[in-house]
């Protein structure tokens, strides 16, 4: 499959780092948590501190694919009265405010169903979102949604596939064949507590993903420190930072989030010039 504009963008950003093992940063935040105004400040801080892509999550009352911290944020946003309509409006504003950053919408399938799957996808494309991440709509159920992305997105709205370590090679290939933009590799901790074993497991898993998909690979596994980003260098193309940023926000607000990403990307620059 020919690379989509999002994939081309990612590869160009990687090439611009001028190092043998470049890596991009993708951040994640839950809309409406603690408020859209605060989301705006956090996004500005992320954009100013080296974040390359951002994942904006529309909260859902049953976030089965999320860990406890993000699940709690979903519920908190809803408790504060978050509505999908204003969330979409906010996404549109955010895309216009930061035209250099690709924004992806992450949410659950029922949010699409309630609005009308085609309508939601058409609106996402019109707002300028670059991809959709819907973790509870497995690829064998997603044919219509993927077709709608192609129809309304004109190549600019990718359906992001998820790859996981529990998937067989055959399953990874099935998903990889449908990939566009990049693949999101979910490398959860929990099987082993030892960091060294974990690194080896992640490397082996990502190798399996490479064999299955030709797109760039984003890896989320609880990045907390610059060393975590370095550990993914040469393994993945994009490091996903989710929960850690939320914890920094809880303790020090948007400024702390900015400082955290600043540290992550400074480590990245220092290493790449070394």
């Amino acid at each position: 499959m020919t690379p989509t504009p999002l994939e081309t963008h990612i590869r160009a950003r990687l090439a611009a780092q001028k190092t043998a093992s470049p890596i991009l940063l993708m951040s994640h935040l839950v809309l409406g948590h603690p408020s859209l105004e605060e989301n705006r400040r956090v996004i500005d801080a992320m954009a100013a501190n080296g974040v390359d892509l951002m994942e904006l999550q529309i909260p859902f009352s049953e976030p089965i694919a999320d860990g406890p911290v993000i699940a709690l944020a979903n519920q908190a946003a809803l408790d504060h009265g978050f509505r999908v309509e204003e969330g979409l409006r906010f996404i549109g504003e955010t895309v216009r405010r930061h035209p250099e950053i690709p924004f992806l919408i992450m949410t659950y399938f029922n949010i699409l169903l309630a609005r009308g799957v085609e309508r939601f996808i058409r609106e996402a494309a019109e707002l300028g979102a670059r991809g959709l991440i819907i973790p509870d709509l497995p690829p064998q159920e997603a044919d219509a949604a993927m077709a709608a992305c192609r129809e309304f997105g004109n190549g600019n709205l990718d359906w992001i596939q998820l790859l996981t370590p529990t998937s067989t090679d055959e399953r990874l290939r099935f998903i990889g064949e449908r990939a566009a933009g990049f693949c999101y590799c979910v490398a959860r901790k929990g099987v082993t507590g030892k960091r060294t074993d974990f690194d080896a497991q992640v490397r082996q898993f990502i190798d399996r993903c490479r064999a299955a998909a030709s797109t760039p690979l984003a890896v989320g596994f609880g990045v907390k420190w610059p060393e975590d980003v370095d550990a993914l260098r040469g393994v993945a193309d994009i490091a996903v930072v989710g929960t850690a940023a939320m914890e920094h926000h809880a303790s020090g607000g948007a400024i702390a989030v900015g400082a955290f990403f600043g540290e992550l990307s400074r480590g990245r620059r220092a290493d790449s010039t070394a």
């Binding site: 694919a65 509505r83 399938f109 497995p138 998937s167 399953r171």
Partner: protein
């Protein structure tokens, strides 16, 4: 059409990380189902451990009063006092067949968790029960039994700290533990194969009831009533009569404070449920315009649930079953009437089926033969029922007990 669908309902809307787990479970379930020896082993176990077949009791006093023949299927006589035993023992046998040694489960009020804990104790499995932190606070007596039975009860503090969060937490456990752990889901909901598998184990109710009513009456019933939370006891008894179009099947949901009040858990009868996807499956959910799940209400914790079995949703949509709702008030009246007239103490959940039958009996033809599925007994829920009945003597007793504890521990 893909497997796991019933009409447009069902499916498996699960995160990719669980795909392989569900694939292996489906494979094991299908192999067990194709093996007659497995079902025979299940029947023997239920006979020996849970007193099956449970009786189909003729309710003589009610029959005289209503002028129609009323039978009661006695699922209340099961091990742990409810039809839940059928499901947990079946899944326990499946676990043994799959070589798994650790059982995890979600529980709301604690009934399923307790049933699961007895199964694990008997079969020698490690057992971990996930329960919303709020439910742990509210349902101390069930937590007490689960812990005494050797299970670890984990209070879940994420999300709304109730049943759905317990489900999510159990799923998270399963992702990292699938090699030796089985997730014993409590009702005929969730992703494929759970709705079908749980319904299969519960079909033992309907198979027995059909045989028993034919023996007693020489004909099929005209009406069968069952309460519907997730829907497993209703699926259980209905399966005995699905192919008999003359048998009217009535599912009774929690009408709470009345359908007009908005405080209920009626996804089918109220007409306010909308088709959606959550918790791994497609069915009617009580949700708002955005697709966010709503809070539900019922005097019966076991019916206080936002979704409903996809199989029942399909039977409802296709017109094979009729769905009604009974209010908290009607349910409490029915509970007391059944106690006084027949000496049976129904669970609040099961009392919904009783209440609806009582509403309809006077209007049925005189030759009607009615079966009410008494899915569970109520005496084990004395704290909840005494509360619901606002029993003054019970309140005095609890106050005195609390005072005794404070004196002794001071």
């Amino acid at each position: 059409m893909q497997t796991g669908y019933f009409g447009e309902f069902g499916g498996a809307f699960i995160p990719e990380i669980l795909h392989e787990t569900f694939r292996r479970l489906t494979e094991a379930y299908e192999a067990a189902r194709a093996d007659p020896a497995f079902w025979n082993e299940y029947l023997r176990l239920m006979e020996n451990y849970s007193g099956r077949p449970t009786p189909l009791t003729f309710a003589g006093n009610l029959s005289r009063q209503f002028g129609r023949r009323v039978y009661i299927k006695r699922e209340d006589l099961n091990q742990t006092g409810a039809h839940k035993a059928n499901n947990v023992m079946g899944q326990g046998l499946l676990m043994r067949r799959m070589g798994k040694t650790r059982a995890i489960a979600e529980t709301g009020a604690g009934q399923h968790g307790m049933a699961c804990a007895t199964m694990a104790a008997r079969m020698g499995f490690e057992c971990v029960i996930y329960m919303g932190a709020e439910d742990v606070e509210r349902q101390r007596s069930n937590v007490f039994w689960m812990e005494r039975l050797g299970a670890t009860v984990v209070p879940v503090t994420s999300g709304s700290r109730t049943l759905k969060d317990a489900v999510n937490e159990a799923m998270r456990d399963w992702v990292g533990s699938m090699d030796h752990t089985h997730y014993v889901l409590g009702t005929a909901c969730g992703a494929h194969p759970f709705p079908e598998m749980v319904s299969w184990f519960q079909s033992i109710i309907g198979l027995e009831a059909r045989k028993q009513i034919l023996e007693a009456e020489g004909r099929l019933p005209t009406h069968v009533y069952a309460c519907v939370g997730g829907g497993s006891n209703a699926m259980g008894i209905f399966q005995g009569f699905l192919d008999d179009p003359d048998v009217t099947l009535v599912g009774v949901e929690a009408g709470g404070k009345g359908l007009a009040s908005g405080h209920h858990a009626s996804r089918l009868a109220s007409g306010s449920g909308a088709i959606g996807v959550a918790q791994g499956y497609k069915t009617f959910f009580l949700q708002n315009d955005d697709g966010q799940m709503l809070d539900t209400h019922s005097v019966a914790a076991g019916l206080d649930y936002v979704g409903v079995s996809p199989i029942l949703a399909h039977l409802h949509a296709s017109g094979r079953i009729r769905c009604e709702a009974a209010t908290d008030r009607e349910v409490l009246d029915a509970l007391q009437r059944l106690m006084r007239q027949e000496g049976l103490i129904p669970a609040l959940e099961s009392s919904h089926a009783v209440a609806q039958a009582f509403k309809e009996l006077p209007t049925l033809p005189p030759e009607a033969v009615v079966i009410i599925n008494l899915s569970g007994r109520g005496d084990k829920d004395i704290f909840t029922i005494a509360d619901a009945l606002e029993d003054p003597g019970w309140r005095r007793y609890i106050r005195k007990k609390a005072a005794d504890y404070s004196v002794n521990e001071a």
